[in-house]
Symmetry: C2
Subunit: 118 residues, 2 copies
DNA sequence: GCGATAGATTGATGTTTGTCGATGCGGCAG
DNA sequence: CTGCCGCATCGACAAACATCAATCTATCGC
């Protein structure tokens, strides 16, 4: 392939820079990109954002699943599925207390994604 | 549906809080959730993160498409498609100078997404 | 043990998404 | 005008995804 960088002459560089010549210097490697993309994919659904918001609104103690199904307006299996996605992305963590499952925000993962947008 | 909140007694509340009773108070409404989800969806692909990183690395002048196709290792139509997704999400903006198309980061959109993760 | 309940898993289905080859369009050089 | 080059669009296809009904597992109260 022929890049515009290779075509530019010294005169063109002086007059008007044609193309960025320092290509290929990404801020992170491919593995990091895949990892970050996985995190953002978990945030790419309105239902999951709603769930995160509800869980976060319940403070550090977290929220019980039975109180999440109603507000998001989806079936219980669908909510369970979305919570699993959030769990596997490391955005929330769950523990069972007796019959109920409690979810709470995993702050560090959220902050890592936040930092990557700088 | 019966929520655990409705089942808890005063004694249970005192001993161990069972469920978060303040349900339904999300930090943003459904419309915002859809909008944010759209933004994160644009960030949910490694190729697009790579493109953003490359464009950002070229400074405020932005990057020429011909210098992006090589580094990301995808066909030109595929890169064009991803750039369109980023454009429609407001994460980048494009302008054509002669034969070439130049893309640059749209900082404000990125910052809005960043703030929403707080 | 038994029935009821909370939540996860499975299976099926319609939709969305990533990818590429082929094609279209506009600008530049000769 | 003509041919080439950079980029966008189109058409097709496979993979991934969101959703729900049905089912399964584990826990609680009786």
């Amino acid at each position: 392939m022929t890049t515009a960088s290779q075509l530019q002459t010294a005169a063109q560089i002086a007059a008007a820079p044609v193309c960025c010549s320092t290509v290929g210097s990404a801020a992170f490697d491919d593995g990091d990109a895949v990892e970050l993309a996985r995190g953002f994919a978990a945030l790419s659904d309105p239902v999951r954002l709603h769930l995160l918001s509800l869980i976060a609104a319940c403070g550090p103690d977290g929220a019980c699943v039975c109180d999440l199904v109603g507000p998001v307006g989806r079936s219980q299996p669908t909510v369970s599925h979305h919570l699993k996605v959030l769990r596997e992305a490391g955005l929330v963590s769950a523990d069972k207390r007796g019959t109920w499952a409690w979810y709470r925000i995993e702050r560090s993962t959220l902050e890592r994604l936040q930092r990557s947008l700088g």
